[in-house]
Every structure is written in structure tokens, then in C-alpha cells.
């Protein structure tokens, strides 16, 4: 098959781990994905830190690290400790489709998280999580008209799901059905040089029902596999349409992070408080605005620790002369946390070890990487170090999946484990555009 070097198609499966994909193919649940292995390679991939969708998808869509694109998590604090929720308008780097649009070529972008509110582009888009309003999530208006007419769902209603898992099952099915319909519709009816379609239902399935996958006696064990049969059906249909209607266009399939069993939620702010780094002006704290005088550090979800710097925060306590030593002290202390005799953390990274760029001032000072089973939480008002929550699955950083249908392009990755940063320049290679300041290495 001759490679078409100027187009590329991408299907995202939010939170689908490489190891799960292997298991599902082995069990015969994903025959379409398995068939694709004869035309390309499937790899285990590292994602960005923290391993959360807003950061990972933004890294994917821009090809630069969070120190350049400016998104470090779903929430941030202003200098007065008021919480805000960064969205697409806060993102500082150019996207893949911005670059492609500069050369007059079109992109279709369906449900990529962290693209809300939608911005004009050459092509069509509907934003993904955390989109609130379909009209503001879409561009141009024809996309809104189509999606609103067909009953499109931006997301599973996980707020309701928390109360009723049977509702979750129905909502997962309905949302995937509408997502599939939308992805295939725009694939066939909208001109594109780059097609990006993301399924986020997999992430919701894993958060709530990872135990259903792991436990054969779980009443929804069968449902978990049936759901992935539906996912595989979409993979197969997407791949078939690509071959029939866009021969030679390479297919990439990627997840933004992996998933694993959640054994304990570990409350980092509780540890900081117990060890004198965090002082609250009232207990229980109602919000991060209750961060009180004397605080030297606080945590935000997921896995981020911020030094309460003088000049940066209203009640900043730490001067520049103490910064380095405090980071070292916190790193040592955090690495010593144990639950059930097991170390909670695998590593603690300082910001300049993992990030670089003009957005460093807003970067977390420490980013924590947990050991399997420990889900690091930044809630401000928890009164225990570790606890069980209502979710059974947690994100992992080192088990994302990447499939590249390379057609006749040579595999350049070799034995090197790819990173999510390598995927956007790989797409640029397929699209024959300059990746500019993208930081990864093309894998073809």
C-alpha cells in the first residue's frame, strides 16, 4: 500500500492501558485491533506528568511540555488562593491543527479533551472534557447544528453515575453510540487532512468499573468486556473506512495515560498539615482560601505540590533563599510516606527536572509519581492520610498505548520507549509539515 504522506488519521482511547489492550486482544475481545498489528506496531508509551487528561491531551495537541503550553492540571490557584479552572483559552502553544491550518489544510477535531471553549480553525471541531455548553464547544455552527440534532453527548454523566452504577452502564452505552456516530459522520462528510477523534468513555469506564475488569465475580465483569467489544468495533469500522475512502492514510491509535487498580487514595494535604507545612485558618477547611498564615506548601490534584512563595501568593511564607532547601526537605519527607508497609511514592520531581519554558512560574514546584495502587489526592479538607474512595481505577504514567499504522514508513523508534511528546512530531512527519518547536522525536 502506498503511503499518502500528507494526511493522517488518529483515534484516541482515553485511559486505555497498553497492558489492557494486550490482554483484550489475547482474550479475543479486540480482534480488529489485533488485525491492525500486521500493518503497524503497538507500543507501550510514557505519558506526561502529572498523568491527567488535561495535561496529557494538551501535550499531545501541541507537542511541547507543560512548561511551554501552560496547562498543569484541571485546577489552579490564583494568588489569593481562589480556585480557577484553566481551559483552552489559557493554553499558550500552537496546536497541530493551527500549524496545519497555516498551510491551508483542514483538520477535524472531535472530542479532544481540553479544547473548550472551541476556537475557530480551518476545519471543524467539537471540544471534549470539560466542555459545558455544546454551542461553545463547537466550530463552525454547522457542527453544532448536526450534533445537537443527533443527540450528541459531550460526556458520560458521572455526577449521576456516582449515585447509580446501573445509570452509568446505560449512559456509557448511549454516549459511546453517539460518539461513534459523530466520529464516523465527520470522517465521511467533512474534508480533512488531519482527523482526530477521541473516545473518553473508556476513562469513565475504568474510573468506576476497573474492579469489574479485575474481578471475574463482579456482576459487571461481562459488561466491561462487552464495552471493549464495542470500542473494537469502532476501531475496526474506522480502520476499514480509512482504507476504503482514504487509501494510504496512516492510522494512529493512542491513549493519553494508562489505568490500574486503585487500592488507596492518599491525601497529600493531610500529610503536609500533619507535618507542619500546611496551616489552615479553619477546620474543616471549606476551600483552598482557608490556607492560612504559616503555610509553606500545599497540594493540588493530582500529584502536585506548590511552595507558598512570598510575592506569588497573598499569604506567601517562603522566600527564595529557603526555596531549594524546602523542596529537598519536602521530597525526602514525601518519599518516606508509607501505607500498609509500602512506599507510596516512586519518585518526586522538581519542576525544572521535568518542565521547561515560559510558563515555569505557574508550574508545580514538586510533581509526585506514585507506586501502583496509590492514587494521590489534593483535597484540602481530608482528615486521614489514606482512605478508600468510590472509584476503583486510577491513572498510570507508564502504561499508555500507541499504535502507528506505518504502511511503508520505517519504524525509527527501535527499542526506545516512546513518549507522548513523540506522537505530534510523528503526525507532522505524516502530514509533511514542520513541527517547529515540538520537543519529541518522530517515530517514523
Amino acid at each position: 500500500m502506498e503511503n499518502n504522506p500528507t494526511k493522517a488519521a488518529f483515534l484516541g482511547l482515553d485511559g486505555t492501558p497498553y497492558t489492557l489492550a494486550l490482554d483484550l486482544m489475547e482474550r479475543g475481545v479486540m480482534p480488529n485491533l489485533k488485525a491492525l498489528l500486521s500493518e503497524g506496531t503497538l507500543r507501550r508509551m510514557d505519558t506526561v506528568m502529572p498523568e491527567v487528561s488535561s495535561v496529557a491531551w494538551t501535550t499531545f495537541m501541541t507537542g511541547v511540555n507543560p512548561g511551554r503550553h501552560g496547562i498543569f492540571g484541571f485546577m489552579e490557584l490564583k494568588p489569593g488562593y481562589e480556585m480557577y479552572f484553566p481551559n483552552f483559552s489559557h493554553m499558550k502553544a500552537r496546536t497541530l491543527w493551527d500549524r496545519l491550518g497555516e498551510s491551508g489544510r483542514s483538520s477535524v477535531v472531535i472530542n479532544v479533551p481540553s479544547t473548550y471553549p472551541a476556537r475557530p480553525l480551518k476545519g471543524a471541531m467539537t471540544a471534549g472534557f470539560v466542555a459545558l455548553d455544546l454551542k461553545k464547544a463547537t466550530y463552525p455552527d454547522s457542527v453544532y447544528q448536526y450534533l445537537s440534532g443527533m443527540g450528541y453527548r459531550i460526556d458520560v454523566d458521572t455526577v449521576k453515575a456516582r449515585q447509580n452504577v446501573d445509570f452509568l452502564v446505560d449512559d456509557l452505552k448511549l454516549t459511546l453510540a453517539r460518539r461513534r456516530e459523530a466520529i464516523l459522520h465527520f470522517m465521511d462528510n467533512e474534508p480533512w487532512d488531519l482527523f482526530l477523534g477521541v473516545v473518553t468513555e473508556t476513562d469513565r469506564l475504568h474510573h468506576y468499573l476497573w474492579d469489574a475488569y479485575a474481578d471475574p465475580s463482579h456482576r459487571l465483569h461481562g459488561f466491561f468486556f462487552d464495552y471493549y467489544r464495542e470500542i473494537d468495533s469502532l476501531v475496526g469500522e474506522f480502520a476499514d473506512r480509512l482504507k476504503d475512502r482514504h487509501p494510504g492514510v496512516p492510522l494512529l491509535i493512542m491513549s493519553d495515560h494508562g489505568f490500574g487498580a486503585l487500592e488507596w487514595q492518599v491525601n497529600i494535604n493531610f500529610w503536609l498539615k500533619e507535618n507542619g507545612y500546611l496551616k489552615l485558618s479553619k477546620e474543616p477547611a471549606q476551600s483552598w482560601e482557608d490556607i492560612g498564615p504559616g503555610t509553606r506548601a500545599f497540594a493540588l490534584d493530582p500529584s502536585r505540590v506548590y511552595i507558598n512563595l512570598k510575592g506569588k501568593y497573598k499569604r506567601g511564607e517562603v522566600g527564595p533563599e529557603e526555596y531549594g532547601q524546602l523542596c529537598d526537605e519536602l521530597a525526602r519527607g514525601l518519599m518516606s510516606i508509607e501505607v500498609d508497609g509500602r512506599k507510596v511514592l516512586k519518585a518526586v520531581y522538581k519542576k525544572d527536572e521535568i518542565y521547561s519554558g515560559p510558563c515555569m512560574e505557574n508550574a508545580p514546584d514538586l510533581v509526585l509519581l506514585s507506586n501502583p495502587g496509590f492514587d494521590l489526592k489534593g483535597a484540602i479538607s481530608r482528615d486521614v492520610l489514606n482512605e478508600k474512595g468510590f472509584l476503583t481505577g486510577m491513572h498510570t504514567q507508564d502504561d499508555a498505548m500507541l499504535y502507528i499504522g506505518m504502511t511503508d514508513m520505517p519504524d525509527k523508534a527501535g527499542e526506545r520507549k516512546p513518549s507522548i511528546l513523540d506522537v505530534p512530531p510523528t503526525l507532522c512527519r505524516f502530514l509533511a509539515i514542520d513541527g517547529g518547536e515540538m520537543e519529541g522525536t518522530p517515530l517514523v
Binding site: F74, M75, E82, M83, Y84, F85, F129, V130, A131, L132, D133, L134, K135, K136, Y144, Q145, S148, G149, G151, Y152, R153, I154, D155, D157, T158, V159, K160, A161, R162, R204, H207, Q265, Q286, S287, E289, D301, P302, D375, K377, G378, A379, G389, F390, L391, M394
Partner: protein
């Protein structure tokens, strides 16, 4: 007068404008004067009616309000004429959040937030709430439904259902919930006609929705 007068009440920044918007979407006629224009704190408008503040002196307009809904801050409920029948949808919100929302609004207007008086404000508001609720209990001509703002953010359909039931049915619950639940378009005709999605949520409501979604995925 035969018809019941519906009132949305509560302390400031507890979602009273939001509830007015929901009732309007559900098919109720709202009594407003649009003097105070929409802004960042309430992009969908304030749904206020200035004459409410002088109801003790002039209740002549109340006759025309039968079967309709107007907004009235809870402190003014004491002035309601006794010769009418009322249904009050009383909005409630966690006190700390309400005070924070008031501070943000004052900050945006460049006014002194009085943050140092929060503890005293909290005490006074809580005293008022206890007193007004006791007073309302003793009024045979006033029925009250208490609606929690945060619960409405988290589950707009549930709150819409409760309000519709309280007001005797007949409201379009789907469109009421659709004021908040803009990711879903169950009312296809409204979506296609472009009506749905026209209302804007205020910043607080948007933030509450985001918090609810993030909480449901284990964040926050």
C-alpha cells in the same frame, strides 16, 4: 385573588437568578423590569423587579403577578401582604461559598469586599435564616420548597422535578434542567430551533458544574 403568586427567594448569591431562569425556561412568566443589566456575575441577567422593594407601600402590581414568578430577597418576605397566597422556592447555598461569591462580585465591581467581616456576616445571615424559616413555618398562606444550589448544579433534573412538583406540574422539566445541562439536548426541537444554548451561565454556576464533574472523577 384566585391565582397563587410564586416567589423565588433566598439570600444574595444563592442561585435565585438561576432558578428564575430555570422557571422561565420551564414555561413560567417572569415578572422583571430589566433595569439591572446582565454582567459577568450574572450573564443571563438578574431577573429583578424593583417594585418588590416597595411592596409594603405599594402592592397594587401583585394582583397581576398571579400565576407568574418574581424574585425577592429573603429579608423582604416579611413584607408580603397577608391577603395573598404564595409558593416560595427558597434557594440555599453553603454559607462559605455564598460569602465568597459575594466577595468576588464586589471585587469585580471594584468595591470593598469587607472580607474581614466574614465571621460577623456569617453570624448575621445564619440568624436571619433561622428567623425567616421559623416565620415562614407559621404562615398558613405561604408554602415553601427549599432548594440547594449545589445539589441543583450536580443534578439539575432532580431539582427541576422537585420544583415542578411543588408548583403543581405543567412545567417543562427538560428545558428547566437544560438551562444547566448544556452538554445534553434532550429537547430536540429546542436545540434545532437554536433556542437551547442561548442562555449563559454565570461564572459561579460554571465553576460549580466543573467542580461537580471533577469531583465525580475523583478530583477535588
Amino acid at each position: 385573588m384566585g391565582k397563587v403568586v410564586t416567589i423565588v427567594s433566598g439570600l444574595p448569591r444563592t442561585g435565585t437568578s438561576l432558578m428564575m431562569k430555570m422557571l422561565e425556561a420551564g414555561g413560567m412568566e417572569v415578572v422583571v423590569d430589566n433595569i439591572r443589566k446582565a454582567d459577568e456575575d450574572n450573564p443571563g441577567g438578574y431577573y429583578e423587579f424593583e417594585k418588590v422593594k416597595e411592596i409594603k407601600e405599594d402592592k397594587s402590581w401583585l394582583e397581576q403577578a398571579g400565576g407568574k414568578v418574581f424574585k425577592m430577597v429573603s429579608m423582604l418576605l416579611y413584607d408580603l401582604p397577608a391577603d395573598f397566597t404564595y409558593k416560595v422556592v427558597f434557594m440555599e447555598r453553603e454559607m462559605g461559598e455564598m460569602l465568597a461569591s459575594q466577595r468576588k462580585m464586589l471585587e469585580r465591581k471594584g468595591q470593598d469586599t469587607g472580607a474581614e467581616n466574614d465571621a460577623e456576616n456569617k453570624r448575621l445571615y445564619e440568624k436571619h435564616l433561622t428567623e425567616i424559616k421559623d416565620w415562614l413555618k407559621g404562615r398558613a398562606n405561604i408554602n415553601v420548597l427549599y432548594i440547594n444550589y449545589n445539589e441543583t448544579m450536580a443534578d439539575p433534573h432532580k431539582s427541576a422535578d422537585a420544583v415542578n412538583g411543588f408548583l403543581g406540574g405543567g412545567l417543562d422539566v427538560g428545558r428547566m434542567a437544560g438551562v444547566l445541562d448544556k452538554s445534553l439536548y434532550r429537547n430536540k426541537s429546542a436545540a434545532v430551533s437554536g433556542e437551547a444554548g442561548g442562555e449563559e451561565l454565570d461564572k459561579d454556576s460554571e465553576d460549580e458544574m466543573i467542580k461537580a464533574k471533577l469531583s465525580s472523577l475523583g478530583y477535588m
